[in-house]
């Protein structure tokens, strides 16, 4: 019997598969389609101190094997998330990873402090890499020193392990990874979206109201995989890998490259059942490849 369980700081995962932040809301919609307790974990939509209405629409555009989004961290604000969304999720036997966002260090600290107290929040994912919010967000993720400081500040107040989500829009992602590790991060999640753009071919106007948006989906998988491979070489921190995962073979790739668990984002929109489908296929696939457990497979590309 192959063993799918994965043990990470704060997270005892039944299996390494979890929906990525922002692609699963707070679970309500997908709960109508399948039992959320099947999931290894759930990364909920980013929470900020205050309610955020996000960006004007259109907020999404399709690209070749990918999509652009500029939702703009729309969320009901941490109080509603803590008071309504998280308690609702307690009915499921699944650890929650709370995605924390903001524009200033204080924002991050405040949200981290409060939300990490929630019973079913087992870890935080610090989103220092959202490309769709002007001032803050992205800048935190592109400067090692700033990233380190923010990590330290959040770490100081969080009552659960802290994972930092890295931006791919950088020259040297390993440097950022090292910085957050020095800052005391318990883990890394990567990657967030690549900054991109689509134009309306009649008018020449950007399709996305925010002008640019974050590119996700299968198109970015080669970049995500390369970055996970690169970061794994420089750190022993656990990595939750993501970027274009659409089937069980993609999961195998990320684990091979060094990810300890894998998140699925955009693919949920294409096939709402993608997460449970991957989970059910994983044991057989592992067995075919000659592995008894997920943890055995992790990082195999580095051992060749």
């Amino acid at each position: 019997m192959t063993n799918l369980a994965v043990k990470l700081p704060g997270l005892n995962l039944k299996n390494p598969i979890m929906p990525a932040s922002g692609c699963f809301g707070f679970g309500k919609e997908y709960a109508q389609l399948y039992d959320l307790s099947q999931l290894g974990a759930i990364m909920i939509k980013a929470a900020t101190v205050e309610t955020r209405l996000g960006n004007p629409t259109p907020r999404v555009a399709e690209t070749a094997a990918g999509m652009l989004n500029a939702i703009g961290l729309q969320n009901p604000g941490m109080q509603k998330v803590i008071g309504q969304e998280l308690p609702w999720l307690e009915q499921y036997d699944v650890p929650i990873i709370a995605n924390v966002a903001g524009t200033t260090t204080e924002d991050y600290v405040e949200v981290a402090k409060e939300i990490s107290k929630s019973a079913n929040v087992h870890a935080l994912e610090i989103n220092i890499s959202c490309p769709n919010v002007k001032l803050g967000g992205i800048t935190f993720g592109t400067d090692p020193a700033v990233a380190k400081e923010l990590t330290q500040a959040v770490k100081a107040v969080s009552s659960v392990p802290v994972y930092v989500k890295l931006s791919p829009n950088v020259t040297d992602i390993s440097a950022i990874a090292r910085a957050v590790e020095e800052g005391g991060a318990d883990g890394i999640t990567m990657i967030n979206t690549l900054l991109g753009m689509r134009l309306d071919q009649k008018t020449g106007r950007p399709v996305i109201a925010n002008i640019t948006g974050g590119l996700s989906g299968p198109a970015i998988k080669p970049v995500a995989l390369r970055m996970v491979y690169e970061v794994r070489k420089g750190t022993d921190l656990p990595i939750i890998g993501m970027g274009g995962v659409a089937d069980v073979n993609d999961v195998i790739d990320f684990l091979s490259a060094g990810a300890n668990a894998v998140a699925v984002g955009t693919a949920n929109f294409v096939n709402p059942f993608v997460c449970p489908e991957i989970i059910s296929k994983l044991p057989e696939r592992l067995h075919e490849l000659g592995f008894e457990s997920v943890e055995e497979l992790v990082g195999r590309s580095h051992r060749l």
């Binding site: 922002g22 692609c23 699963f24 809301g25 309500k28 919609e29 997908y30 109508q32 389609l33 939509k45 309610t51 209405l53 996000g54 629409t57 259109p58 907020r59 999404v60 555009a61 399709e62 690209t63 070749a64 094997a65 990918g66 999509m67 989004n69 939702i71 729309q74 009901p76 989906g217 299968p218 198109a219 659409a246 955009t266 949920n268 929109f269 294409v270 096939n271 709402p272």
Partner: protein
Amino acid sequence: QEEIARNIFEITVEGELKKEMSAPVQFVHIRVADSFEPLLRRPNSVAAIDQENSRFTMIYRAEGRGTTLLSEKRIGDGLDVLGPLGNGFPVEEAEKKAYLIGGGIGVPPLYELAKQLNSRGIETVHILGFESKEAVFYEEKFREFGETHIATVDGSHGTEGFVTHILNELPKDFDTYFSCGPTPMLEAIQWIYPEKKGFLSYEQRMGCGIGACFACVCRTTRSEMDYIKVCSDGPVFPAGVVIS
């Protein structure tokens, strides 16, 4: 499927859907190809429902990448359909007489609506706008249910201009209106009938189609909510609710 007007296709799909379809303008979210390109599903509303044979019909314009691929499907090809999604027109709201106002690809869902309203003994008047004569479809089918007015932008058929030109000529002797079409049209109609009970079906770019991604939101006058999602709170909203 067949081409019923220029680039306008009618397709009938058979199969068990997760939920029963009932109200018109519920829409489905379609994956047109088992490929990553195009990647996203396409929202498309339902033009006619045939419960017995668990069939439904859609009418769509083949314009971009996805709908063009859809138009190349042959009989027997499978189709990955998610739905029914969203709410529908509240047929029970109509009392005696209703105006059904549609523009372009907003016309199809009104057909199932007309069917259901008439079966409830409600008189329906149909005001339909199209680009040009070649783009007109379902005119006869609507006439079977009642008075039908056509407007074409280039005047090649019916009244020249937009449906609003026709509305300004028509009596206001109805109790409820239902409309589906481009947002500017929906806006205009609400100005024309400030005092009437109306229900409008909106379009918005979608990601998930089920309420999880926040792609399709609109600002709203509903004080208790910060925003509404077209895919899960809509696509149909009472007049005055959506701020666009």
